[in-house]
Subunit: 654 residues, 2 copies
C-alpha cells in the first residue's frame, strides 16, 4: 500500500512541477517551435471562412461550443443540459421540458464527449450527440439548426462517462456508467460495494430517418468504473470497446485504492450478437423511470415523457458477446484506428502505450484462450491480444486520434505532450510539448474510417500564463497543431469556454450548406402562435392571461395592455414575423422571474410573468434589430387584485 | 404623420438592403482593404500576451466578457446579472443573494454599458461597472479577481439604459431610465402617459477606498426616454450629459410616434451643484424598496439588504443645474471629447453629426439665452450651443469615440460604417464599411482624458455570412481596426458572445500585475469552511445536514457518507485546499436540483441537495485536476425517511 501511495505522489508531483515552474522555458520552446508563417496559417481574413467546424464539449458548462479551425474563433455556444439565460433555454415554457428528468427539473449537467453521426463509417454531418455525465443523459443536436432537439435519460447509471460514441452507421449511440451503483438502486451500506454494485452499458438505437433515440438494451456489468469507449469499424464493426478502472472495486480513497492493479481491462462487446439475442426475445424487462424529451421545430415546443421500463441483459446469458482484454494501467481512452484493426488502450498511469489487435482478439476468442474470468466474463490473455506497445512514448497516455495516413496522435497528461507515432511500427515520429497538462486531442474525423489529417487540437487542463490573467478563474486552453507534415507544428493557443473534455471536428463543406437560416412562419405549428398581426389578442382564463403577440421591425402588437392584475399569471406567447436571416428579436419584461426570450425568425416562444406590484411596467426588444430598435417597446398596466378594469389592448396603430 | 412613416420606412429599407444584398461586394471590399500584414498584426504567438483587455457587454446574456486585443480571443465570461451554470453563480448558496431584487430573485438581465473606474480622468483599472437594463441595477466587478462583488438596484427606474458611466474621479457612477413610468409606481391608464410619467437620473456615489456604492440622489425628469449618457471631463468636469428621445411623450407605436420631432434634447446636468444642494439638506426622502447586494471575498459570501428610501431632487428646485440642448434627431450616444470641450450628439435618425461646445453652452447659460422650457427646465438655443456639424458624415450616427490625437470615430448604423473625422475642422478623414449594421465602437480609454488610440473595435449587430453558419441563431460580430495611421485598416472579424452593446478597453499593464491568483486559505472566513481535513465532519440539525468537506488533489474528505435520509436538506460546504494558481476543483452530485460548484483555491462554496430517492449516489470532481481526477469521487447512502441509521462518514483513509 505504501508503495502505491508513493507512486501516486510522484505522479502528482510530476504534474505539479511541470505545470508550475517551466513557463519561461516553455515560452522559449514555443518561439523555437513556431514556423514564421504560423500567423498566416491561422488567419482567416474578414469575409473568408474557416475550413473546419470543431464542436467542443463545455464540460461543467453543460453545453457544446462551436469553433472554426484554423482561426480558433467561437461561433456559438449551444445550450444542451444547462439553463442558458442568453436565449432563455431552460427558462421559456417551450424549452423547460428539455431539462426534465426522473429526479425532476435539473438545470445543469457536465457535458463530455461529442460525437458526429456516421454513415458507412464516415461523418455524415446530420447530428451530434453528447453525454450528460452527472445526471445520466444523452442529447442529440440537429446540425441543420444547431439546436438541441432530443435528450434521453439513462437509468441504472451514474456518472454517464463512457459515452456518447456512435457505431459506424449510427445504429447506436452508446453510453456507459463511470460509477457503479446498486442496480436497481436501493439502501445498502457503501462498504458492501464489492460484488454488489454494478455498471451498465447502454445501447441507444437511433432511427435512421428521424434520429429518434430509444434505449434498445442495457448490459449489466461487474462493478468497475467504465471510463471511455469507442466503436469498432471496418473489420471490427459490430463490436464496441470500453475501458475500465477500479477493477479493484474500491469504494473509498480511490486515488490510492483504485490504482493497485497493474492491469485493468478493456471490455469488448459484440453488440451485433446481443442485438440478435434481444431481437429474438432475450433480455429482461426491468422497471425504470427515465425521461425522454423531444423538441419539435415546427411546434417550437419540447415535450417530456416518462418511460417506465428498460430491457437489461446479463452478459453471461449471451456467450461469446463480452470479453475482457487486460490493459495497463487504469486506461482512460480506448481508440480504434481507421482500419478497425488496432484498439489502443491509453493506460493513464503507465509509461507505455498499449496497442491491441482485433485480429488477434478474434483468434484468441475462437481458440477460447481465456486466462480466467471476472464474474463469469472471460478474460483474454494480455499477450494473445497485444499487437505491441509504443515504448517510452510519454507519461500518462489519455487519448489517441488518427490522421488517416497510418499515424496515431496520443496525448500524455503527466508529461504534457502530444506524440505522433506510426501505427504499424509503433515508433515515435514526433513529440510536441503541450501547455499545460493536455487531456484529449481532436483530429476532424478522427473517430471514423476517414479522418481529415490536417489539424490536431489539444485540449489542455491548465492555462496559467498562456493569456492575460483574469483573476483566480481562467478559461481552459486549446492548442492547434498543423499535422499535415512529418513533424507537427504548433500554430495557435486559443481559450475555450467551460471545460472542454473532448471534441469532434468536421470539414465545413459537410455541414454549412445545410445550415437552416430561418424557421418558415407558414410552417409554425405552435399552439399559441399569432401568425398574423390580426391574430394578436389577449385572453383571460381565470387568473391566467394569454397574450398572443407578434413582433416585427420595430414594434410589438399589441404594445399597450391594460386589465392585468396582481396575482395573475401572464403568458407572453410571442411570434417573430421576420423572415430574413439573422433578424432575431428579444423580449424582456421588467421583474419577470426568469430570463428573456430570444426568438428566431418564424419562431414562437413563451415567457411567464407573475406581476407582484401595481404599476405601469414596460417591455422591450432585447436584440438590437433596426435603427428604431430603441423604440420597440410597450407598456402593461397592472391593477390591484380586486380591480374591475377589463382587459384591453392597443394594436399599436395610431 | 404620413411623411414620418415614409421616412422611417426608407430608413428601415436602407438597413434591410444594406444588410441583405451586398455580401459579395463586401467580400471584395474586404480583400482590397486588407493590408498584407493584417495576419501578423493580430497574431499573438503561443506564449505571448495581448496588449489590451477589452471588456464587452453580453447584452441579453446578462454578463460581461473579457477579450484580448489584437487577437480577439475571449478570456473569460464574468457572470453578473444572470445565473451561470458553469460556475454555479446564482445557484450556490453564497451567490444567490447577488441576484436578489425588490421583485424577488431575478436570474437574468440585459447588461449594456461597461465603464472602467477613473482617477483624474484616467483609467485606473480598479473596477468596472455595468448596468442591468431590464430590472434596473448597477453592478461592480473587481478587476483584481474579475468577479462581480456588488449590485445595487435602482428604484424609480425602468429600462436602466443611460448607464453606467463614471465621473472622472469615480465620484459617481450614473444611471438613467430609458422608459419613463409613474413615479412612484401606481395604477394609472397608459394613455395618460404625457405629463404624468417621469424619468429618473440616479447619481450613485462610489466610496474612494472600498468602492462601496450608495444612491446619493435621483433627479426626477420629464417623461422622455433617456438613452445614453457621458460625464464631462477637464473643463466640463462637474457636468453630466444625457440623450433623450420620445420627447413627444408617446406611449404607443413609438417607431412612428417618437420620431416626429426634428430635434430632441441632450440634458446637461450640473451634478456638482446638485451635490451641494443635497449636502446642504436639499431634496426629499421618498419611500422606495431596492436591494443592495455585496459579495465579500473573505467570507466568499454575498449578503443582500433591502433599502427603504431614496433621496429625490426636483430639478426646478436647483436653478442653474439642468438645461436642455436641442439635438437632431432621436440622439443615441452623447460623447465628450478628451478635452471636455465637445459634446457630440449622435442623432440616430439624422444624416449629420452634431457637435456642441461646452464653452458656448456655459456662455449661453450665463447669458440666460433660453428659447423656451420643458416642464420648467430651460431649453437653450440650438445655434447658441452648436460648435458645428460633421456634414454628410453618414446615415444614423450612434456613438463616437476618440483617439486622443484630435479625432473622433463615429459609428453609423444605417450606412453601416465607421467614420474618422477631425474634432476641430469637423472634416471627414476616412470611412470604412462595417459588416453589418454597427452599433457602438470602442477605443481603449475612449471615455477618458487619455485614450489609447491604437485599435478601434466596432460591435456589429448583423453577422450573416461573416463566419461558418450555425443555424438560424448566430453570435454577433466585432471588427478590429488599426487606427494608428491616417487611414483606418480593417484587421480582423471576431464573433462575440451574447449581444455586445458597448465595451471598455484598457492597456494590459494597467491590470495584469494586480490580478489575484488564489484566495489564501488562511484568510478564508466562510462560516462553514473546513480549514483542515481534521475539521471535516457531518452535522445534523433536524432535517438539515451540514457536510463540512475538503478537497485537494485528488480526494474529498469525507468521501463516504451514510445516515442521510429522503426528506433531508443536505448542505455540502466544500473548501478547496489547493494553494496553487489555476487548480480549481468542481463538485457535482447526481440529481442535485441546481448546478455544480466551481471552487477556486482557498474558497468555500455550498451546494444544497434534497435527495428524493433511496439509494447510493455518487459525487465527483467536475474539473480535471490531476492524473487521478477520475478517482476523485465519493458516495452518499440515502436511506428511507424513517430509517434509524445514524450519521457516519469515512475520511478517505484506508
Amino acid at each position: 500500500m505504501k508503495k502505491s501511495i508513493k507512486i501516486i505522489a510522484s505522479l502528482l508531483l510530476a504534474t505539479g512541477i511541470f505545470s508550475c515552474n517551466n513557463s519561461e522555458q516553455n515560452k522559449e520552446g514555443d518561439r523555437g517551435a513556431l514556423a514564421s508563417n504560423a500567423a498566416e496559417k491561422v488567419y482567416v481574413a474578414p469575409g473568408e471562412h474557416d475550413d473546419f467546424y470543431a464542436f467542443i464539449s463545455g464540460g461543467y458548462s453543460g453545453n457544446l461550443t462551436v469553433y472554426g479551425l484554423p482561426s480558433g474563433r467561437m461561433f456559438k455556444e449551444i445550450p444542451v443540459f444547462s439553463q442558458f439565460p442568453t436565449s432563455g433555454y431552460g427558462y421559456s415554457e417551450e424549452t423547460k421540458p428539455m431539462l426534465n428528468t426522473s429526479h425532476g427539473f435539473i438545470p445543469w449537467d457536465d457535458s463530455h464527449h461529442p460525437d458526429i453521426s456516421q454513415t458507412n463509417g464516415k461523418l455524415d454531418g446530420r447530428w451530434i450527440f453528447i453525454n450528460g455525465n452527472n445526471t445520466p443523459r444523452i442529447a442529440k443536436i440537429d446540425l441543420k439548426t444547431f439546436e438541441t432537439t432530443e435528450i434521453i435519460e439513462v437509468p441504472n447509471s451514474a456518472g454517464n462517462h463512457s459515452s456518447s460514441f456512435v457505431t459506424e452507421n449510427t445504429e447506436y449511440v452508446v453510453a456507459g456508467t463511470r460509477f457503479s451503483v446498486p442496480i436497481p438502486q436501493r439502501d445498502m451500506p457503501i462498504n458492501e460495494y464489492k460484488g454488489n454494485f454494478k455498471g451498465s452499458l447502454s445501447f441507444i438505437s437511433v432511427a435512421p430517418e428521424t434520429g429518434r433515440m430509444n434505449i434498445k438494451f442495457q448490459l449489466i456489468m461487474p462493478g468497475f468504473d467504465y471510463d471511455l469507449s469507442h466503436p469498432g469499424r471496418g473489420k471490427s464493426h459490430g463490436w464496441f470497446f470500453f475501458t475500465t478502472y477500479n477493477t479493484e472495486e474500491a469504494n473509498t480513497l480511490l486515488e490510492v485504492n483504485a490504482s493497485q492493479n497493474d492491469k485493468d481491462f478493456i471490455a469488448a462487446v459484440n453488440w451485433k450478437k446481443i442485438e440478435e439475442y434481444v431481437n429474438n426475445g432475450g433480455g429482461k424487462t426491468m422497471p425504470a423511470n427515465y425521461a425522454h424529451n423531444v423538441y419539435d421545430d415546427h411546434t417550437h415546443t419540447a415535450t417530456s415523457t416518462m418511460k417506465k421500463e428498460v430491457l437489461v441483459v446479463d452478459p453471461l446469458e449471451v456467450p461469446g458477446a463480452v470479453f475482457l482484454l487486460p490493459t495497463p494501467k487504469s486506461p482512460h481512452g480506448v481508440d480504434v484506428d481507421p482500419s478497425g484493426e488496432y484498439i489502443i488502450g491509453n493506460g493513464k498511469l503507465s509509461a507505455d502505450l498499449t496497442v491491441h489487435s482485433f485480429t488477434k482478439m478474434i483468434d484468441a476468442i475462437e481458440n477460447e484462450k481465456f486466462d480466467s474470468d471476472a464474474y463469469g466474463i472471460p478474460i483474454l490473455n494480455f499477450e494473445d491480444v497485444l499487437a505491441g506497445t509504443v515504448k517510452q512514448a510519454g507519461l500518462g497516455p489519455l487519448h489517441t486520434e488518427f490522421d488517416g495516413k497510418g499515424n496515431g496522435y496520443t496525448t500524455f497528461f503527466i508529461s504534457s505532450e502530444l506524440v505522433k507515432w506510426n501505427l504499424e511500427t509503433r515508433e515515435v515520429i514526433d513529440r510536441k510539448p503541450n501547455y499545460y497538462s493536455v487531456g484529449h486531442v481532436m483530429i476532424p474525423g478522427g473517430n471514423s474510417r476517414e479522418p481529415f489529417g490536417k489539424y490536431a487540437v489539444s485540449m489542455n487542463k491548465i492555462t496559467k500564463d498562456r493569456y492575460l490573467p483574469t483573476g483566480p478563474e481562467l478559461e481552459h486552453s486549446a492548442q492547434l497543431f498543423d499535422i499535415s507534415g512529418e513533424k507537427m507544428e504548433l500554430l495557435l493557443d486559443f481559450p475555450t469556454h467551460g471545460e472542454p473534455h473532448y471534441a469532434a471536428g468536421i470539414p465545413a463543406e459537410l455541414i454549412k450548406d445545410n445550415s437552416q437560416k430561418i424557421y418558415k412562419l407558414a410552417e409554425n405549428k405552435h399552439e399559441y402562435a399569432a401568425l398574423s398581426p390580426a391574430d394578436a389578442r389577449v385572453e383571460r382564463k381565470g387568473n391566467e392571461v394569454h397574450i398572443y403577440m407578434t413582433m416585427i421591425r420595430s414594434h410589438f402588437t399589441p404594445d399597450n395592455i391594460e386589465g392585468i392584475k396582481v396575482g395573475d399569471k401572464v403568458y407572453f406567447h410571442i411570434t417573430n414575423h421576420e423572415q430574413d436571416f439573422d433578424v432575431p428579436h428579444g423580449f424582456a419584461m421588467i421583474g419577470a422571474n426568469n430570463a428573456e426570450l430570444l426568438i428566431m425568425p418564424g419562431q414562437t416562444k413563451t415567457l411567464t410573468w407573475e406581476p407582484k406590484k401595481v404599476g405601469v411596467w414596460p417591455f422591450y426588444c432585447t436584440d438590437f434589430c433596426s435603427a428604431l430598435h430603441q423604440e420597440m417597446q410597450g407598456y402593461i398596466r397592472v391593477s390591484p387584485k380586486n380591480s374591475d378594469i377589463e382587459l384591453s389592448w392597443s394594436l399599436g396603430e395610431d
